[in-house]
């Protein structure tokens, strides 16, 4: 579904990502992990055409994404930003979610169709925000706002969903709720998901596969148990950890080892 080939890109002359190669198959839930500044967000921004690669190409459904118009890409790829702001936005949750229909509009279509509304309704039902759909978006809590942004992304009817640390700044209940939902979308709606996560244990629990980035290079890619080893983590994060198996999911679970000295 998505192929990143020899991707090198960054801001101005500074390269953030260097010669990245990987393929994403359909219906996978792929996690991207790595230390701060390792290029996780930059990678997502390259996939959504926010920044242009200096070298290398990205293919979506076998087509170079720079050959696909922004509008066509937005019909198939949706993005949920990290800690989205809605300061001063003067619209209701429903109006906001309907913005997700923008890429699907025809040139002289100014009003929402029944279908547009049905899709938005469905997305709000999935994210469990139907009850707050008439509330102004500026008055939502952090968790509700994150769900609203997710609902907007789903309203785009994407095939590929990108999320940049959707659980940062949320309490544990909201984290689990959002990740459970993403897992469900991935399973029941066959949505391909690429998610950037900071919390290694959440990444371990929810992702089918992981990509570990280090200093703008792809350090390793594989199943959670292959990536989340004490060796890899210590090498990349320069932090001592102990890894045990989670008793329920039998996925790796990481314990930090504080320096007692």
């Amino acid at each position: 579904m998505l192929e990143v080939r020899e991707l090198t890109c960054g801001y101005n002359k500074r390269f953030i990502l260097k010669a990245i190669n990987f393929k994403v198959r359909r219906e996978v839930l792929l996690g991207i992990i790595g230390p701060n500044g390792s290029g996780k967000t930059t990678l997502l921004r390259a996939i959504t055409k926010v920044i242009k690669p200096q070298n290398g190409k990205i293919f979506f459904e076998e087509k170079d994404i720079w050959q696909i118009s922004f509008k066509e890409l937005a019909k198939k790829v949706a993005f949920v930003p990290q800690a989205p702001l809605s300061y001063g936005l003067d619209m209701t949750v429903e109006e906001f979610v309907l913005l997700g229909r923008i890429p699907h509009r025809k040139v002289f279509q100014f009003l929402e169709t029944k279908y547009d509304k049905a899709i938005a309704e469905e997305a709000m039902a999935l994210t469990n925000i139907l009850s707050i759909k008439d509330r102004p978006i500026s008055e939502l809590s952090g968790g509700e706002r994150q769900l609203t942004f997710l609902a907007k992304a789903l309203t785009q009817e994407p095939k590929l969903l990108l999320l940049d640390e959707p659980t940062a700044h949320l309490d544990i209940a909201h984290r689990v709720r959002i990740l459970d939902l993403i897992k469900r979308l991935n399973n029941s709606f066959k949505l391909t998901v690429i998610i950037v996560l900071h919390d290694l244990n959440l990444a371990s629990q929810y992702c089918d596969e992981l990509i570990l980035l280090n200093n703008g290079r792809l350090y390793k890619r594989g199943l959670p148990e292959e990536i989340l080893t004490a060796e890899n983590i210590e090498d990349v994060y320069k932090t001592k950890v102990i890894i045990k198996e989670d008793p329920i999911s039998s996925r790796p679970y990481i314990f930090l080892v504080p320096d007692k000295g």
């Binding site: 937005a74 930003p81 003067d90 997700g100």
Partner: protein, 336 residues
Amino acid sequence: MDKKLIHWAFFILLFSLILLAVSAFSFLIGSSHIPLNKIIPLILKGKGTIEYSILFDIRLPRILLGLAVGGALSIAGVILQGMFRNPLVEPYTLGISGGAALLVSLNISLGLNQRFGLISLPASGFLGAIVVILVVYALSVKKGILKIQGLLLTGVMISFISSSLIMLIMAISKAEDLHGIVFWIMGSLEEPNPLLIKLMLLISIFGLIISYLFCFDLNALLLGEEEALHLGTNIERTKKSLFILASILTGFSVGIAGIIGFVGLLVPHLMRMIVGSDHRILLISAFLSGAAFLILCDTLARTIIAPLELPVGVITGIVGGGLFIYALTKKEPLII
């Protein structure tokens, strides 16, 4: 039908009615008193009487020009405020008016308007606007990317430079030229050339239609440039097109009517408070009410101390500013 559509239809109807009422009021009121009961017989009688030509050759063209300029400045304001996501931006912030005023002052003080006729005033105003647009644009594009904040700062600086130069010109020009410069800078809807009025109307309505092609891009831009891009907006193309559109609307307005301040700042802001920030309703509302606002201000300008006339820019400033402060105390200001 759904609630939003009814809302929107109500607003469009309301603003259309206000525009109609204000136009009718402006048509019937003036320094030469024409009694109400005579109006209809006059119109039926047709051309030939003095009253008829006052109505149709003096008052009507001013109404039409007010409609065109008020509408154009208001949608230029909506577009720029949406694009910059900054409610303090107005069409003149980009230095367009400064450039226009500079060339017009130069024209008047060099006496070119006497040699080339009155048409040279709007022509030089428009030329000044175009030059500034090109300069601001060229300075703000880096590697094909239009830097929005750069655009704003360059525009403000160009405004300062041109107002300094205008002061220099005013300081060294003759007293009779000074009057012309000051009057032009304060703006007026008096325009003897019917062709220019028609042109302005055309530009204004054309601008409204074109702006609707971008109404969803403007909505997406409410969320910021990157989010708009994720919603399929071709950001660079959209910013450039919107900048050019707003510049054309402002450039023609300034060239033909001089610098009529405040319309492009006040009307978009008020409308955003009343109808919300969805550009599908915001653009048309701003157009209609901007037109009504300017026609009303112009009517006041030409009747308050009739037969003398106040500069319309003075009225838009006073009425608009008062209205604005009132609105701000009534409702939380919106930072878009």
